[in-house]
Symmetry: C2
């Protein structure tokens, strides 16, 4: 880890906190944020924790034109013992660097970024909500800042971490969502940016989602960009199906995101000795399993919602109801196990949970 | 056209202008810019011409996370008679709205946006360079501004127009560029955002371009995302080939950009009664034509470079030299005709050239 000094500029006045039992997702932000800048000459420099504040950029800043940017999403929890907890945060920092690689953004020092995040969390500890289903959502992101109208990697960047106390991502909570299988639009294709966490993937997904919303579906299930046949993922979640006792999830293929929750579920199922297979799976197979009465459960997985059971899939004019539109036992068990490990109420046989020391250590 | 009033806040002090005979592309910006905001309640409001100034946004502004943004690129010229000239600007405003549609951004009033651009140009007339190959590059763009961490269309936007006096886009000028045919990375696929002018398309293209640069190629030629067989376009240009006297360009297929220069060239070739065909064309066919000695010319077309002759294509380890690496007669004739029409030195049988009135009309 590089031996940076994090400058601290703390606010004496604090914001009024929102009611922690009525939190929305992603609408409130805490008193402080972490910032670090990059220039070609200096590399990453000037790490600092400062009051939450606007970003001021030249209108020609490359982020506004060519979208060179990456982000991450993870959560902090407060245990009953008032301990700040993180869930596999190194995986997020590593993925941020994989995204950086794809987007030609200079890599960050992962250990230092995690250290900086921990310092910020210690400062903002009061902002971590504790009711069921709530947490402090963490959004690290990097934007390209050079004022230049030309398609080339930027020579300057800003890395920021902002924090948002959040409630359930879907208003349905752990209740099942209805999802429409997208036939026209495509999220990503091999050779594109689908396995990076970068803005353009999400911008391109809005149209299909908007159209699905009109029809009463909360998200779309994306099919592959080549044949529109094979299942990729859902909005901002990976996807799992339980068919005849076996759990199936699309194999990582370069166009879907390598989810931390996905990986955790795979490890959990293996630990429980439940059959799990990662493979290429077509929507036809899911439909057939449904017709045969073998599609027992389906669920999306991601940091925001953790586990989101799928109660209905809409495909080619047909509604595939899954488990009578109710949350299945495996979905529930996974949700309870993962959130239990995350919040510190369950044992963590994997060493996934990280405790944040309670004092600011300005290395 | 909506009857907006454009507020004018002009600078009394002006910037020092760069040397107009040594202009780079996209590095200098003029004294003023146009801004207009959008909210769900008010629609587009508060159009204004103001001093060129930074954009201040909440760090949670959606542009930084989900990339919901669109842009355009066109140019203004100054004729010998000191008349400000635009080239088919309505096509750009129409394309901006098509991009808006794809990105779920509220449409702008195209006629009003063009009116606003003209007013800005009148204010910034002194910034239009006149030497050979120079012009005032115009960048209209829209960014999503709502501070919200959640994948959904923004409820607020900012539309801006900035201006940059520019020299040649490629340092080669009208001299031929060397281009590498991309085998691994993909720019776009049907159902994606390839036919919209949106940031994510460009962010995703940086990696392949960076790798091509290392090998001495200035740009990549993109193949289709499904089979990596069919020719799409080059970096920020459409592409044309002259084979055995016939000019061929990839047909618009949903994943390539509908270029204004491309359309102008098609119209010009038709007007000249030269054979022109828009069709799906594979890299194999180009290679075969080259082997048979029938590949006479190849060139990229776009607002920035106008016509950029391709002197060499690198494909599967082979270097296809085209017209001995020199600018072909058709490339040159198209360049001279289009720039002649654009700058007012040639007749314009198509009505493409628009003269901007010399007084600010604040309707
Ligand atoms: C496109 C996409 N897929 C899947 C996921 C799930 O990943 P994770 O479990 O790491 O949150 C996310 C959210 O992060 C996502 O944005
Ligand atoms: C991807 C892409 N293709 C093609 C073009 C050429 O379009 P136009 O001739 O309208 O400038 C551009 C540039 O605008 C572009 O960005």
């Amino acid at each position: 880890m590089r031996d940076y000094q994090i400058d601290m500029h703390l606010n004496t006045e604090r914001k009024q906190k929102p009611a922690f039992d009525q939190l929305q997702f992603g609408r409130n932000f805490t008193d402080h944020m972490f910032i670090m800048d990059y220039s070609s000459e200096e590399g990453w420099y000037d790490p600092r924790i400062v009051p939450y504040q606007p970003v001021t950029l030249d209108p020609a800043a490359m982020i506004f034109h060519y979208g060179q940017t990456v982000f991450e999403g993870l959560k902090a929890y407060l245990s009953k013992e008032q301990q700040i907890l993180l869930f596999r945060p190194s995986k997020n920092m590593a993925r941020l660097n994989r995204s950086n690689e794809r987007l030609c953004i200079p890599k960050i020092d992962e250990a230092f970024a995690l250290h900086a995040l921990k310092q910020l969390l210690i400062v903002e500890k009061d902002w971590i909500p504790t009711s069921e289903g709530t947490s402090l959502y963490i959004r690290p992101f990097i934007i390209s800042t050079e004022p230049y109208i030309g398609v080339a990697p930027s020579n300057s960047y800003r890395f920021m971490i902002i924090l948002s106390p959040v409630g359930a991502y879907y208003k349905e909570g752990i209740n099942p969502v209805k999802i429409s299988v997208e036939q026209e639009y495509v999220r990503a294709v091999q050779g594109g940016t689908g396995n990076a966490k970068t803005a353009g993937n999400y911008a391109g997904s809005l149209k299909a989602q908007e159209m699905a919303n009109v029809d009463g579906y909360s998200q779309v299930l994306w099919l592959d960009g080549k044949e529109k046949k094979y299942i990729e993922e859902v909005g901002s979640m990976n996807v799992f199906f339980k068919i005849k006792g076996e759990v199936i999830t699309p194999a990582l293929n370069g166009s879907i995101l390598d989810g931390v929750t996905r990986d955790s579920i795979i490890q959990l199922l293996n630990y429980w000795n439940l059959p799990l297979v990662e493979k290429k799976i077509s929507m036809e197979e899911i439909d057939q399993a449904h017709k045969d009465g073998h599609l027992e459960e389906a669920f999306g997985t991601g940091t925001a919602a953790v586990i989101s059971p799928i109660g209905e899939l809409f495909w080619k004019g047909e509604k595939l109801s899954i488990n009578n539109g109710e949350t299945g036992p495996l979905s529930r068990k996974l949700y309870e196990t993962i959130t239990g490990i995350q919040t510190g109420t369950l044992e963590d046989p994997f060493g996934w949970r990280i405790e944040v020391a309670s004092e600011v250590v300005n290395n």
